[in-house]
């Protein structure tokens, strides 16, 4: 299929399908994340890039047979490897035997929240999650280094004039979105703070919150959204999220415990765990929200600049 637009649409369908699969496999938290990330943000980013780089794939496939041979060989080896893997759904496979029983049996006493995924994510494996948050933060910095454009305030008007204002052409969308955006933001906060009891948490809430802001900026234009959320503000928030996360670990270190040992935060260990998880999820939420918004803003800004330049060039030529 040569039309990249169709490929991206099918990728969106595939992502929705895989999220349904995650629900069927009991992984509600994962399905939550995949729903927000795969179907929403990823499809959008791909689309923005395709409109910038061209919709058609005009490549001559070089050596598909070699690729086919490599793929079939690797696939055969992997297939051979599967015969030793424990069967699907079997309760006695090694993955269920080592550390998992402790998570399942003791987490309610040690951490005191019903969602085991959250307690493993934010408490037992907090160091791991810290690494992930730093990776996300670094990706945000990298994208900023690659794509951010220097600002001149007088240019903004020209760029905004080129960039067609969607809200003027689609009245119905404007009204419906004005109803929906507060609901989306509120729902993101619900997901953030309800993560202890149901599916949810900082990662999901961050992506949903960012999706709400992205919807706003798509409708009313980037320059108006910039007035609400400026680039320095976003940068500061993303750094504050990582700092908050790290400082919780540092405070527990100074209190005499291990890094990310929340038992020492308060006199009551379980209350300390609650506080620690709340703070850490907040940090994750801040970082993920701001990095997602930052990524989208940089992409969209690049695109507006490109279109502005295109039209400018046309004017010069004619």
């Amino acid at each position: 299929m040569n039309d990249l637009f169709a490929v991206v649409m099918l990728l969106g369908i595939y992502s929705l399908l895989s999220a349904s699969f995650f629900v069927a496999m009991d992984a509600v938290d994962v399905a939550f994340t995949e729903a927000a990330v795969g179907a929403g943000i990823s499809t959008l980013l791909m689309l923005v890039v395709i409109t910038m780089t061209g919709r058609k794939e005009n490549t001559k496939r070089h050596k598909p047979f070699l690729a086919l041979i490599v793929v079939i060989f690797t696939g055969g080896l992997l297939l051979y490897g599967t015969f030793d893997i424990p069967h699907f759904g079997s309760a006695d496979s090694p993955i269920h035997n080592h550390v998992t029983p402790r998570y399942i049996n003791d987490s309610i006493n040690e951490i005191g929240i019903p969602n085991i995924v959250t307690s493993v994510l934010a408490s037992y494996r907090a160091f791991d999650t810290f690494g992930e948050v730093v990776v996300i933060f670094t990706a945000g910095i990298g994208i900023m280094a690659l794509l951010s454009v220097a600002h001149h305030s007088e240019d903004n008007h020209k760029i905004a004039a080129v960039n067609d204002s969607m809200h003027e052409r689609y009245l119905v969308i404007r009204i419906v979105s004005k109803i929906l955006i507060p609901f989306i933001l509120l729902f993101a906060l619900y997901v953030q703070f309800h993560g202890d009891f149901g599916p949810g948490g900082g990662f999901q809430a961050g992506v949903i919150f960012a999706a709400g802001i992205i919807l706003y900026s798509m409708l009313f234009g980037l320059s108006i959204t910039r007035k609400v959320i400026s680039q320095p503000f976003i940068q500061i928030i993303s750094a504050v999220g990582v700092l908050l996360y790290g400082s919780v670990g540092l405070v527990s270190l100074l209190q005499g415990g291990n890094f990310f040992d929340y038992n020492v935060l308060l006199t009551d260990p379980v209350a300390g765990q609650h506080l620690g998880i709340l703070l850490i999820e907040l940090g994750v939420g801040c970082t993920v929200t701001s990095v997602m918004i930052m990524i989208f803003f940089n992409f969209a800004e690049r695109r507006e600049l490109q279109q502005h330049n295109n039209i400018h060039n046309k004017d010069l030529e004619s």
């Binding site: 009991d26 994962v30 791909m46 005009n58 001559k60 086919l68 297939l79 496979s93 998992t100 990662f203």
Partner: protein
């Protein structure tokens, strides 16, 4: 007996189609799509491993005894968000490549790299724009 391994085979098929796209297609965006396909197949492998027969979602509630394994869920949850950030980084690189070379096809880029004069000409042309 055979059906117990069915999930792994699905994963292998998905993984290999992702690998094939990465190797055989020259378009950089298509390569990224292949990578994300590969990535999703790994997610599916982990999640299907975590499933226990008769278990439910790992959120404790009354009168629920058997739970699925929460550990792979945690790993994959973070991996999805990290995956989107790295994909976005790749897309940003693609945009810069497009600006520098004027093309996102692997073959064209290699040709431009091997002909230094034409590349500089291209750059001059870009600079004029």
């Amino acid at each position: 007996m055979i059906t117990g391994l069915f999930n792994n085979w699905i994963v292998i098929v998905l993984m290999m189609s992702g690998l094939y796209i990465v190797i055989a297609h020259g378009n950089l965006i298509k390569k990224l799509i292949g990578l994300s396909l590969f990535q999703t197949s790994v997610f599916i492998l982990y999640i299907s491993m975590a499933k226990v027969e008769g278990g439910t979602a790992p959120i404790l509630a009354e009168n629920i005894k058997e739970l699925s394994n929460p550990l792979p869920h945690v790993l994959i949850l973070t991996a999805i968000v990290v995956g989107i950030s790295t994909t976005a980084l790749g897309l940003a690189l693609v945009i810069r490549i497009k600006e520098a070379y004027g093309s996102i096809e692997e073959e064209d880029i290699q040709i431009l790299d091997n002909l230094p004069q034409s590349k500089t000409q291209k750059k001059i042309m870009d600079g004029e724009q």
